[in-house]
Symmetry: C2
Subunit: 134 residues, 2 copies
């Protein structure tokens, strides 16, 4: 239960790789993909998502590629994971998506809230700097 998908796994590998590179070093998608062993076309989609929310910056055309959008100590694992997997939510009732309406005072709800908070907290405390091992 609660497993990260391939997409999430690949996303982390890819952006952690960027974090290990010298600051402002523009990296080719093909290089990243082969370095972290992820299908390039898949990684492209993931980095497009990152790019839209500023986690990475992209440069098109010859000499283009990707760079981290902020310094590695300012990007948390939580942001990375939620960017591609969606919000951390052990049950839909904690995302506000109805449910629980079944039962006015659902006794399980607070448990899910607690799980959600704990997990978010753990992931929010880890930065790409931590993960880069530098």
């Amino acid at each position: 239960m609660m497993e990260l998908t391939r997409k999430g796994e690949y996303a982390i590998r890819g952006i952690v790789y960027l974090a290990t590179q010298p600051a402002e070093q523009v990296c080719l998608l093909s290089d990243i993909a082969s370095a972290v062993d992820v299908p390039q076309t898949f990684l492209a989609k993931i980095f497009q998502q990152f790019s839209k929310i500023g986690l990475v910056r992209s440069y098109r055309g010859t000499g283009g590629g990707f760079v981290l959008g902020r310094s590695p100590d300012k990007i948390t694992l939580l942001e990375v994971v939620e960017a591609v997997e969606g919000p951390i939510a052990p049950n839909r009732c904690v995302t506000g998506e109805g449910e629980c309406s079944r039962d006015a005072d659902c006794t399980v709800h607070p448990v899910w809230v607690s799980v959600q908070n704990q997990v978010r907290d753990i992931l929010a405390r880890v930065t790409l700097l931590d993960l880069s091992g530098r």
Copy 2:
């Protein structure tokens, strides 16, 4: 991310209902299913799983049905969830299913272990007695 499936949601509803019933009260599957608003055939499969590991006891034939396998304060939410959803594992690398072999000292691994422990801990502290609201 990390969402409980319908099966898990149904499983909890079903067994919590049992916990709200008088001890040793044998309940009809059809009654449980309609009370907690779950397809009966689906709930049947779930309770079969519960039965195999002793979370509930089943009685076949006329007058048959289901009862909790132990007193509600001795059954944790963790057991219930893992019974139907499999082990809590935010990433396969924490279940021992290879991976991580990619990277001898994976920096993310300890984070997943931490998440796994925290979640398990939270769920293990909640019993069916707590959830029954009695």
